[in-house]
Amino acid sequence: MKVVLHIWRQSRPSTSQDFGQDGKMVRYELDDVSADMSFLEMLDILNERLTAKGEEPVAFDHDCREGICGTCSLMINGRPHGPERGTTACQLHMRSFQDGSEIWIEPWRAKSFPVLRDLVVDRGAFDRVVQAGAFISVNTGAAVDANAMPVPKADADKAFDAATCIGCGACVAACKNASAMLFAGAKVSHFLHLPQGQAERDRRVLNLVETMDKEGFGNCTNQYECEAACPKEIPVRVIADMNREYNRARIKS
């Protein structure tokens, strides 16, 4: 199959003053793409051709290519990870596109995710949010016996729904406000429903929200684009969980 690609090319990293305004969308044509290729394999082919011609290959993030690491981060035709629901860009295949399609590929767009080069963004802001509170403090040593602490199945399911987050940033990319509330909410909800999460319950949500705000993400307006774009289909319930938890902690503090 044949595809026409429009890809964001940016040669130097964005800064807090310069957001990469000198970058631009560049048109490429590929006319022998197999429908069975993954989206990233299609980009690999493009890069081989560019390298052979002595041009700079397109920089894009990828790692496991199994849909579990959260490294791939492509905005494809205005949707994070492309048109399929619950699918990362690496698990997307060219059969999801029509022969002759025009495909627009852009990096995640958010002030908090500065573009490093082409389609690669720095998601360090997510790491700093995690460091602010998305953990529990336990003594190291031998692993605790699996069923020593009983957790009702319904609670375990709620925690697990949130824990499936792979931190890819699709929620921020999809949000009209570049808000990170689905991500931060997932971190809150992950621990909220488990007994292990109770000791640091208040501190966690206060620190998470403070760090999220400081990083310059936008504010949720309950449009739920994040939920629809999330490759792990994390529900917006986690945002309501975080709102409740934050108010509870603020009242107590």
Binding site: N77, W104, V209, N219, N243
Partner: protein, 228 residues
């Protein structure tokens, strides 16, 4: 007081401010429509109700000031959040798309600012009497403020009536998203009830704005008697 400002400045604090002030303003809209429905009961009922409100003196001013404070807080917080949201994405997508965000949710800033403009006009029209002084100064046979006459005389002017109807359509979109959004911001999310809240949100928005449109059209189409 520092903790309040600190809370307001946080993302969730700002959202909750929007939700609570939004809920109060929604409550006002319900009361406003309920009062205006007296138009259907004729001039005496409407003017008596207006005189009753005016007779409260200081209490009326307390309520008015409270309402104004809530309104101003809603507008200022909304502008602050919208600016932060704009700044959070300095470069827009070359080819944007929308998966499931409703038209109403995407036009909240536009419908909100339109409401601000309309409220100013509405106050100049019916509360201060600047735009149509000839309607505002109408008197009852007893010499009191003739609210029924003022409203019916105004809404029998096609241009004014259509402006009010057009604004109610804008307000419908603001409420249709606003009511369900405030529930979620206040932490209400439930597998069974959230879909009901979403439907109810559109329903109450339609009831409020539909009720207002019905009153305007009742005058324009001569279903209620026009005094002039």
């Amino acid at each position: 007081m520092n903790w309040m400002l600190d809370y307001w400045r946080s993302s969730i604090g700002g959202k909750v401010t929007m939700a609570i002030t939004g809920l109060l303003l929604f409550g006002f809209l319900v009361g406003h429509l309920a009062g205006n429905l007296l138009l259907l009961s004729g001039p005496e009922a409407m003017n008596e109700y207006a005189a009753f409100l005016k007779s409260k003196g200081a209490l009326l001013w307390v309520v008015r000031c409270g309402l104004l404070a809530v309104f101003v807080l809603h507008v200022i917080t909304g502008i602050r959040l919208a600016r932060e949201n704009r700044n959070a994405r300095p470069i827009a997508y070359a080819r944007p798309d929308t998966i499931q965000a409703s038209l109403a949710s995407r036009s909240m800033v536009f419908t909100g600012l339109s409401t601000l403009v309309f409220v100013v006009y509405h106050l100049l029209h019916f509360t201060v009497g600047v735009t149509n002084p000839e309607h505002f100064t109408m008197e009852t046979s007893a010499g009191g403020h003739n609210v029924y006459g003022m409203v019916t005389a105004s809404f029998s002017v096609v241009g004014i009536a259509l402006a009010y109807v057009a604004f109610q359509v804008v307000l419908f979109f603001h409420l249709a998203h606003g009511v369900q959004s405030l529930a979620h911001t206040l932490g209400l999310h439930h597998e069974r009830f959230t879909p009901m809240i979403k439907t109810a949100s559109v329903g109450v928005a339609a009831l409020i704005t539909g009720g207002n449109i019905f009153l305007v059209l009742s005058v324009l189409l001569g279903i209620v008697e026009v005094q002039s």
